[in-house]
Amino acid sequence: MVVVKRLGSAFVTLLAISLVVFVLSRMSGDPRELMLSEYATAEDYELLNERLGLDKPYYAQYGVFLADAVRGDLGESIQARQPVLTLILQRLPGTLELAGSAFVAIILASVLLGVATAVWRDTWVETAGNIVAVVGQSVPAFWLGIVLVYVFALTLGWLPMAGRGGWLYLVLPTLTIAANSLAALTRLLSSAMTEAMDAEYVKFANVKSVPPWRVTMVHCLKNAILTPFTYAGIILGQLLTGSIIVETVFGWPGIGLLALQAVQTRDYPLLQGVVLVFAIIYVGIALLVDVAYAYLDPRIRH
């Protein structure tokens, strides 16, 4: 039931995004200006006219646009002269690799920091954790990336500057993306842990003589982890968005870099395709998170 409802709202979101993209393209005047390069001939214009059904009413044009998108036809890139979908599929693994590694890093680091600041609250550990969190939240990701490159690649020479390769190439981009989202998640986890540690069931676990580490890491953490989990969708969204910026800093061949190239060359069909693919991933992840949450929290499973 919950899943069906979520599927419905995911579908609505996708429709909304497609509508936004469609409306934006028509708001600029002649959409063919956006979709053809400046070297296009009159025949190209004529062809596209027919293809998009520009003589038909708007809702019919939107129908054509949707039908094409569903069939996987996202048009052709102006610059690369290749189907947009092909270009995107080439770059997709890079972005997924980066976002995945950042997600794992954020989860591990925030659990570590969140638990530590809650367990050692009112000590220097909490202060340090809070400082890390607020600075992480405040630092511009693109600048942090540049600073990391300057320090670890240019000055110390420990890590590669840019590009995609072995795991060494992942370190700096992962750190850069993780910094911003880490703060929010750590705070949430820390306050959820603090709340859990004051709960009556913790006292009762003590009555049972459950060892302290087990009280913290099993009894409290399983409760505390649920709260931030509702934000996991938002955080994954931030990661994907963050990847656009971080990919440009580190020349990481992913969808983000592709999007930026599309922006710089005003390659509208490519940009539109990237947005739609991103939206599908975005909505799909949010859906997965919600289903996983429902599975984790017995109170809403029914």
Binding site: T13, V20, S25, S28, Q137, K203, L271, V275, A279
Partner: protein, 304 residues
């Protein structure tokens, strides 16, 4: 929390009534625990942004090509006149940071004003009237919150071209759902209070109840949100400018300055470093101030 719950016997002693206090004492009390360095820095940024034209040591837009890529004053080859060095076109970095502060603050203030007003009004309507109005507005909020906003913004900036106005409208529209959601929640809370019923019994019009009686009840929430979001908007404007779709050149923006220095990191690190530090310090101060305001004014719902 724990003590009040488990051991009420000892933690809630009655306090004697507070004696009358002087204004100075009251002010000191109100500011207890305030992040004073952050407040001072924000005041500095604000002052610098207001007086930018008067205090810039050099023209931030045109450079002296003979003085290109100068390091900051304390490095070998640096010049005191160009205290933080110059960029590749010989423009003074300090002057550009000062002008950039103005741009950042204007974009933040304008877009938050736009998004805040839009979101507050819609949130008030949703919370006050409920029913289908609430349904429509909140559905809109949910949909927009689930969009990949940065990408939609990129598309819009490509379609409309980047300009100051487009940027402000875009960020404002990006922000409103957050306000709408929280204002709606607060309104639902407030309208249960007796003074709202009383106003209704007294025959106040719906609009009067909305804007005279309910709105003041959520000022605290709005102040905290706006402060916390100001930092976020500055980061966002920086990101867009960094990507080359924000404030169009040659207007100096911290984000585009950082982008300009990226290619010459090895030879001229200062071009990227200082605007980034300015941005970090400003956003950090705003976040510290916002956190303190949240603790002090304690609106329950703002949690991000």
């Amino acid at each position: 929390m724990q003590t009040t719950k488990t051991a009420p016997e000892s933690t809630a002693p009655d306090l004697p009534a507070a004696p009358a206090v002087s204004l100075a004492t009251r002010l000191r009390r109100a500011l207890r625990g305030a992040p004073l360095p952050a407040v001072a820095f924000l005041a500095l940024v604000l002052g610098v942004a207001l007086l930018a034209d008067l205090i810039v040591p050099h023209d931030p837009l045109t450079g002296d090509l003979r003085a290109y890529s100068l390091p900051p004053a304390w490095k070998a080859g640096g010049s005191v006149s160009y205290f933080l060095g110059t960029d590749l076109l010989g423009r003074d970095i300090l002057s550009r940071i000062i002008m950039g502060a103005r741009i950042s603050l204007i974009v933040a203030a304008a877009s938050i004003a736009l998004g805040g007003v839009l979101g507050t009004v819609l949130g008030l309507l949703a919370g006050h009237f409920g029913g289908w109005i609430d349904e429509v507005i909140m559905r809109l909020v949910d949909t927009q919150l689930s969009l990949p906003s940065l990408l939609v913004a990129l598309v819009a900036l490509v379609v409309f071209g980047s300009s100051f106005t487009v940027l402000v409208i875009l960020i404002g529209v990006w922000l409103w759902p957050n306000y709408a959601r929280i204002v709606r929640g607060e309104t639902l809370r407030i309208r249960r209070y007796d003074y709202i019923s009383l106003a209704r019994i007294a025959g106040c019009s719906t609009w009067r109840i909305l804007f005279v009686h309910e709105l003041p009840g959520i000022y605290n929430t709005l102040i905290v949100m706006a402060t916390l979001q100001a930092g976020w908007v500055i980061l966002l404007e920086g990101s867009l400018s960094y990507l080359g779709v924000g404030v169009p050149p040659p207007t100096p923006s911290w984000g585009s300055m950082i982008a300009e220095g990226r290619g010459d990191l090895a030879s001229a690190w200062w071009i990227s470093m200082f605007p980034g530090l300015a941005m970090l310090a400003t956003v950090l101060s705003l976040n510290l101030l916002g956190d303190w305001l949240r603790r002090t004014l304690d609106p329950k719902q703002v949690n991000q």
